[in-house]
């Protein structure tokens, strides 16, 4: 854009194309271009740098609205984090990364291998637990997922752990039976420890398009989602859909995944995210 002398229809079309390419969605992209155009035509901004900055600022405003929400720490026992999301979105790997992240802050963790459905769902997290030297509560394939959550929390209480992170099986929100199962897992967490789970985070794969917004809406109908983990941001996907999710549903990104290793997790930084977007 830097050689644009004055902004015309073609420049606005290019800006809209850039925004759409980040999976921001056509309607949010269109609206941002309209807002920026309005400022330009009213003489409030003049250069092409202004225009791009203005678009970035609009997006940043959405992401930072209502300030940064810190993790809701439990005063009376472990803080329980439940990880949910569609198949393959990065839940199990994120559970491992979160363990490493909190461990570096001096915290203790118990992991709940709640994916008792998929082949090697429990084994995968157990292997991570061995690498992290972190206890993992699991059960044989086919057993009740909610029971694993219950046992993991009880173990966390007994060990006086700072966090209990519960992994769940991937699922599509179109399966009402599986969404019911998730609600049951949440309820059983509350039975093990009143107030649990204190955080329910939805993993969102940065390569996926607008369906992530539908996922957030539908999972959010089962229970309040308190945050997102935007995974695979090391790939070519920009994850622009999280802007629409924040705007429509208010769910903030808490962490981003930048790779497959335990250290590849960062606290969400809205400014860095927007800079990397375009």
């Amino acid at each position: 854009f830097s050689d644009v002398e004055r902004w015309d229809e073609a420049s606005y079309a290019r800006l809209e194309a850039t925004l759409i390419s980040t999976d921001l969605g056509p309607s949010v992209s269109r609206r941002i271009v309209a807002d920026v155009r309005d400022k330009y035509e009213r003489g409030l901004i003049n250069t092409d740098a202004d225009i791009l900055d203005s678009a970035r600022t609009l997006i940043l405003d959405i992401l930072c609205r209502d300030g940064i929400q810190p993790i809701r720490l439990n005063e009376n026992g472990p803080t329980v984090i439940l990880l949910v999301g569609v198949n393959g979105s990065g839940k199990t790997t994120s559970a491992a990364k979160l363990t490493y992240h909190f461990r570096k802050l001096g915290k203790t963790i118990v992991l709940g291998a709640g994916d008792t459905f998929r082949a090697a769902g429990v084994t995968q997290l157990q292997l991570w637990g061995e690498r992290l030297d972190c206890p993992v509560i699991g059960a044989p394939q086919g057993s009740d997922s909610a029971a694993v959550a219950f046992d993991a929390i009880k173990s966390g209480i007994q060990k006086k752990a700072d966090f209990v992170i519960i992994d769940t099986a991937g699922r599509q929100h179109t399966r009402t039976d599986l969404m019911d199962e998730l609600l049951k897992v949440k309820r059983i967490c509350g039975k093990a420890l009143p107030g649990a789970p204190h955080e329910i985070w939805l993993t969102v794969d940065a390569s996926i398009g607008s369906n992530s917004l539908v996922q957030a809406k539908e999972f959010g109908k089962v229970f309040p989602i308190t945050g997102l983990i935007l995974t695979k941001l090391d790939g070519s996907g920009k994850g622009g859909v999280v802007v629409a999710i924040k705007e429509e549903l208010g769910y903030p990104v808490q962490f981003i995944g930048l790779g497959e290793q335990m250290g590849d997790l960062q606290l969400f930084d809205p400014e860095m995210f927007v800079k990397a977007m375009f």
């Binding site: 194309a17 082949a119 599509q172 399966r175 996926i208």
Partner: protein
């Protein structure tokens, strides 16, 4: 849905003799928007809309349908035509035939290897062997072994071997020794822009000469679907694509993006987590889904 929206836009066209660019600009904008909302890649949408305009302009307004219905039918037919046929066959002529699966992380490769094994065993009476060539992901080998046990199919694996092309070569030899007539190779997820890991697939291909190289892609992919398909295709010359997770409600515009940008056929889709949840691709169903 799209037809309903067009009834509105096309009420204005009643009495017009022909479909012209001028009187259809609003309808075209609607179609363009529907495709973008379905996650079709922007450049693919622009190309498609040019083709649609060509097909629509100058057509006589038919008496029996509304111009809206007529345009949607043109768009629908064009989309089906682009999606390719539903008869894309697998080349299984080897001794053994080799199918290699590749794709991004979490797209469904490991579960699809098992589904494909089951499908081909039933349909073509193939004696399948699976090869666990994901040496990176924790429990990837375990995952395939569990699936192999469920299917009573042999799985070649070697937890001591980190050399993927060598592993695949040994799997192929094992398949020959055991009289298997089809080897399905599961590989690790990788970014299409990870040159080192893409090169690993190129070396795998050189060593085992697969008869089929199938990209396993999540049907919910966004704008990056073109980049994903093109990178894998340019490196490997794909023989086809398998779209996964169609039991979700993603509109699936990635199907059009990948098909249009590589010309490669979509051969199968998966519609759930059970072993039986693999079907041949239906271009007409996909077209309707994308148009919403």
């Amino acid at each position: 849905n799209l037809t309903g929206r067009f009834q509105e836009a096309f009420r204005k066209l009643t009495g017009k003799k022909e479909l012209s660019e001028k009187n259809m600009s609003e309808a075209f904008a609607d179609i363009r928007n529907a495709l973008l909302e379905a996650d079709v890649n922007l450049e693919v949408v622009n190309q498609f809309m040019d083709d649609v305009k060509q097909a629509c302009i100058g057509q006589e307004v038919l008496k029996s349908v509304t111009p809206g219905q007529q345009t949607v039918k043109i768009v629908h037919d064009k989309l089906i035509e682009l999606m390719g046929s539903s008869t894309a066959e697998l080349n299984l002529g080897g001794e053994p035939a080799v199918i290699m699966l590749c794709g991004l992380h979490g797209s469904g490769k490991t579960t699809t290897s098992a589904k494909l094994a089951h499908f081909l065993q039933k349909k073509h009476r193939k004696r399948v062997m699976l090869a666990a060539c994901d040496v990176y992901r924790p429990a990837a080998i375990d995952q395939l072994e569990v699936l192999g046990r469920e299917l009573s199919l042999p799985v070649y694996s070697d937890r001591q071997c980190q050399d993927v092309p060598l592993l695949a070569q040994r799997a192929l030899q094992e398949a020959k020794d055991r009289g298997r007539d089809l080897l399905i190779i599961d590989t690790a997820g990788r970014l299409q822009v990870d040159e080192i890991l893409v090169q690993e697939l190129v070396e795998l291909k050189d060593i085992v000469r697969p008869h089929e190289i199938l990209l396993v892609a999540d049907s919910a992919l966004g704008q990056e679907a073109v980049s994903v398909a093109k990178h894998f295709d340019q490196a490997l010359d794909l023989s086809g694509i398998i779209l996964t997770k169609l039991d979700g409600d993603a509109r699936g515009g990635a199907a059009l993006s990948m098909r249009q940008s590589t010309g490669k056929p979509i051969k199968f889709v998966t519609v759930g987590e059970r072993i039986i949840d693999l079907e041949t691709f239906h271009p007409d169903r996909m077209a309707s889904r994308i148009l919403g």
